[in-house]
């Protein structure tokens, strides 16, 4: 097991290298001159040249890439072209708000989503299923920005119960995590339901029922474990997406997170920030996948790692 984890972690290095190279090429292919953008509309050509050399963009591409790689190895991602603060600080400031928001959103949406999914599967085609799946479809189809605005209008503006924007207290987390989690809860509900419906038709469930086990034990003990595998996979994927920061939710709630940082960075062609963020997102996905793979083994002990 440990050996397996170690092997996976080593395998991480070439993947990240490849991602680093691709994203480096990609950002330099984007149209638009970052020096010109940073210098602003009133700048003269001499100023643009000054800004360019200040940002190190006057050097040949291979040298820029070497510098970037060398920096990454030394845990130095350079400074943001836009704010001139170290990229590590820029990302560090925003990582935790995004992380906590993701965690809270995932926590409630997984709990609610799985409950709805199980209830829908057990009472398939009866009213709990109808209600549950109506909710789920609404959750998927209702756009997050609209949900965010509606929630804010009701709970902040009209009722005055919750704060509008920011991330200062736990109360600030309620509306954004509801907004962010709505779609995830819906997806989880649908996944859980279909996975459970399949499992409940299996022979071993019939056997368990034939043994005279009560329905609750059949569902929770025999159904749950087996149904969880695809659900956990989906959970991992969703977690990864949310960790990338939701642009829409962060904009509406003015959340100091990574999604907005990425959008701002792309707008201003802030190469170092884009590169570091994409690397971070890839790393997050790889790690989450690893965790999901380990969870498989815990859920189903017949799975072996090599």
């Amino acid at each position: 097991m440990l050996q397996y984890i170690a092997k996976r972690l080593v395998g991480l290095v070439p993947t990240l290298l490849l991602v680093g190279l691709l994203v480096f090429l990609f950002v330099h292919l984007l149209p638009g001159d970052p020096a010109r953008l940073a210098a602003g509309p009133e700048a003269t050509p001499e100023t643009v040249a000054l800004v360019r050399s200040d940002l190190g963009l006057d050097q040949p591409l291979p040298r820029q890439f070497a510098r970037f790689l060398n920096g990454v190895v030394h845990w130095d991602f350079g400074t943001s072209l836009r704010t001139k603060r170290p990229v590590a600080t820029e990302i560090g400031d925003r990582f935790m708000p995004t992380f906590w928001l993701t965690l809270w959103s995932m926590a409630w949406s997984v709990a609610i989503g799985m409950t709805i999914g199980i209830l829908s599967a057990v009472w398939r085609n009866r009213w709990p299923d109808r209600v549950g799946m109506t909710l789920a479809v609404s959750g998927i189809s209702f756009p997050a920005f609209a949900l965010g605005m509606v929630l804010m209008q009701i709970f902040s503006v009209e009722l005055g119960w919750l704060p509008t924007v920011g991330d200062d207290t736990w109360r600030h987390y309620i509306l954004p995590s509801l907004t962010l989690g709505a779609a995830v809860a819906a997806i989880m509900a649908r996944f859980t339901r279909s996975s459970f419906v399949d499992i409940l038709g299996e022979d071993y469930i019939r056997t368990a029922r034939a043994k005279g086990l009560d329905e609750r034990r059949v569902v929770i003990k025999h159904g749950m474990r087996n149904a969880l595998i695809p659900v956990v996979t989906m959970m991992g994927l969703q977690f990864g997406f949310l960790l990338g920061g939701s642009i829409v939710v962060e904009k509406v709630f003015n959340w100091p997170g990574l999604g907005r940082l990425l959008v701002d960075a792309v707008d201003m062609r802030d190469y170092p920030v884009i590169q570091a963020l994409v690397l971070l997102f890839s790393l997050e996905f790889i790690l989450i996948n690893l965790i999901v793979d380990i969870l498989y083994g815990i859920i189903n002990p017949t799975i072996r790692y090599r």
Partner: protein
């Protein structure tokens, strides 16, 4: 039961105490603004917002009042030599920086020397290095600035929000780059904290030279990107002032009894530039036809919800030496005649680009497309994203192959003076990539006027030069002038003394909270 009543009463009491507290507490004002600040260093900023925010802690030698009239701030008066080369400035006495040092002539030298030194790589370098030759300290309260060539709008440049006085001691302590994280000026507020993701906070400076000011204790500048969220903050009372208010939310905020919506005049001119070096736009008749074909009144209503007025000249009213000529009349019949005379009775096909990709620009270009269709000109719309704009327009190297044709764009004359309204946009040497003459317009008479106005310090002569230039340009029509925008802001009725000035910067010297 009794205990329940008692606890409810206690809770109510506690609650009312909580609610009552702010009334006696410090006067804390919150400004909700539209984007994050790039820097606190005005010499290294290129966005109006960062410079407006920096007015909390920085002041210039000159400045603007709320009507954008120039006023002396840290300077008391100036004296220009007759050849227009040497400016001698008398400075205000008894001004202290936040770090306790005195404001003296050495600060003028330190700040201007800093920005004109290319090693410091400041974004405003070009603006100053073009004209400042050297700065001398005559005595503690007299500074002498010598220019390379006569440049009559020089004092207007000193009034620009980027020309501020940073404490020389602080500059020495923090260095050229880090000063942006530790701003020390002479302004009414001193810097407290900047959390880049969340807010920037400033607090009252007790040693401010203007006695009795500022009247509030703190200002928190809160960047809130989303328009609706900013409006929500105003409605809940979490923010006292917000700018800009998008047109579609104007009515919502107007309806709230505790808020006041203000539509202030601006010097933001929106126009359609035409590449005069390329067929068919090399023919003035085609350009005039396009200008005639657009109904500017309707455009203001459709795209700007009525918060704009048809453009009245080449430079908007409010800019010094701007001449009121228009608006350009809307006359489709005349447009068709002109187009036929130019040899295009059936119109032609061309590209219509917008310098912006937000929704108002989309509405504008669609409206323009439909208007030009009336006279047979078919256009293909492209809304350029910032990077594309830079690549395809602003830094295009060879004027002969420039792909820009019809180009919807705007300009805010940040110095408030005609030179900066005309020279970057219409001077023969300002073609991209140098500056923003996207019409690739060159008229020797206009060039001579702009140059002539720069060289003279006599106001009436300047006015004559600029009048001639603007009238010539108007007739030549390298642009179809469209509209002048209004600036929509909202503030809580308890807040007074905060103004949006025509260049979209803020004035808040008199800020107070009831």
């Amino acid at each position: 039961m009794k205990s329940l009543v008692r606890s409810i009463a206690a809770a109510a009491l506690g609650l009312s105490a909580l609610v009552a507290v702010p009334a006696f507490a410090a006067k804390d004002v919150v400004f909700a603004v539209a984007s994050t600040f790039t820097t606190t260093d005005p010499y290294d900023a290129n966005d109006t917002l960062s410079q407006a925010m920096a007015k909390s802690f920085y002041e210039g030698l000159y400045g603007f009042d709320k009507d954008m009239k120039m006023i002396p701030v840290l300077a008391e008066s100036y004296d220009a030599s007759t050849d227009g080369l040497v400016y001698t400035l008398k400075l205000r006495k008894g001004v202290k920086f936040h770090d306790g040092t005195d404001f003296k002539a050495d600060a003028v030298k330190a700040n201007l020397d800093r920005v004109t030194n290319p090693d410091n790589k400041l974004k405003r370098y070009g603006l100053y290095n073009n004209n400042i030759a050297n700065v001398e300290v005559v005595d503690d309260y007299t500074a002498r600035i010598t220019l390379k060539t006569p440049f009559s709008p020089f004092i207007a440049q000193l009034a620009h929000p980027s020309t501020v006085m940073i404490s020389p001691a602080a500059l020495k302590q923090w260095g050229n780059k880090d000063i942006a994280f530790h701003p020390v000026g002479t302004g009414p507020f001193k810097f407290v904290e900047w959390k880049a993701t969340d807010y920037l906070k400033v607090a009252k400076f007790d040693g401010y030279w203007k006695k009795g000011y500022p009247k509030v204790d703190t200002i928190t500048w809160k960047p809130v990107v989303d328009n609706n969220s900013r409006a929500a903050l105003m409605q809940t009372g979490e923010a006292h002032f917000t700018f800009p208010v998008p047109y579609e939310l104007a009515d919502v905020l107007k309806a709230k009894p505790d808020l006041e919506l203000v539509a202030a005049p601006s010097i933001v001119l929106r126009y359609l530039s035409m590449n005069t070096q390329q067929k068919p736009f090399d023919n003035p008749k085609v350009r005039q036809a396009i200008a005639y074909a657009i109904n500017k009144e309707a455009l203001a209503k459709v795209a700007f919800n009525g918060y704009a007025t048809p453009a009245e000249g080449v430079a908007p009213q409010g800019v010094e030496y701007a001449v009121k000529i228009g608006p350009w009349p809307y006359d489709v019949a005349k447009a068709k005649t002109l187009l036929a005379e130019a040899g295009y009775p059936n119109g032609f096909e061309t590209e219509l680009w917008s310098a912006y990709n937000y929704s108002t620009a989309q509405k504008v270009t669609q409206f323009l497309q439909q208007q030009l269709q009336q006279i047979g000109i078919k256009t293909k719309i492209t809304l350029l994203e910032a990077g594309q704009r830079v690549e395809k327009v602003e830094s295009w190297q060879d004027p002969a192959t420039a792909p820009v044709r019809l180009y919807y764009v705007g300009w805010s004359t940040s110095t408030g003076e005609a030179d900066w309204a005309l020279r970057p946009l219409l001077y023969g040497e300002s073609w991209p990539p140098k500056l923003f003459n996207t019409a690739y317009y060159k008229n020797d008479k206009v060039d001579a006027d702009i140059k002539g106005a720069q060289l003279t310090t006599v106001s009436t002569e300047k006015a004559k030069f600029y009048k001639d230039a603007q009238e010539t340009i108007w007739k030549d029509a390298p642009w179809a002038p469209l509209v002048t925008e209004k600036l929509l802001s909202a503030h809580n009725k308890k807040l007074t003394g905060v103004y949006v000035i025509p260049d979209a910067s803020f004035i808040f010297t008199d800020i107070d909270l009831k």
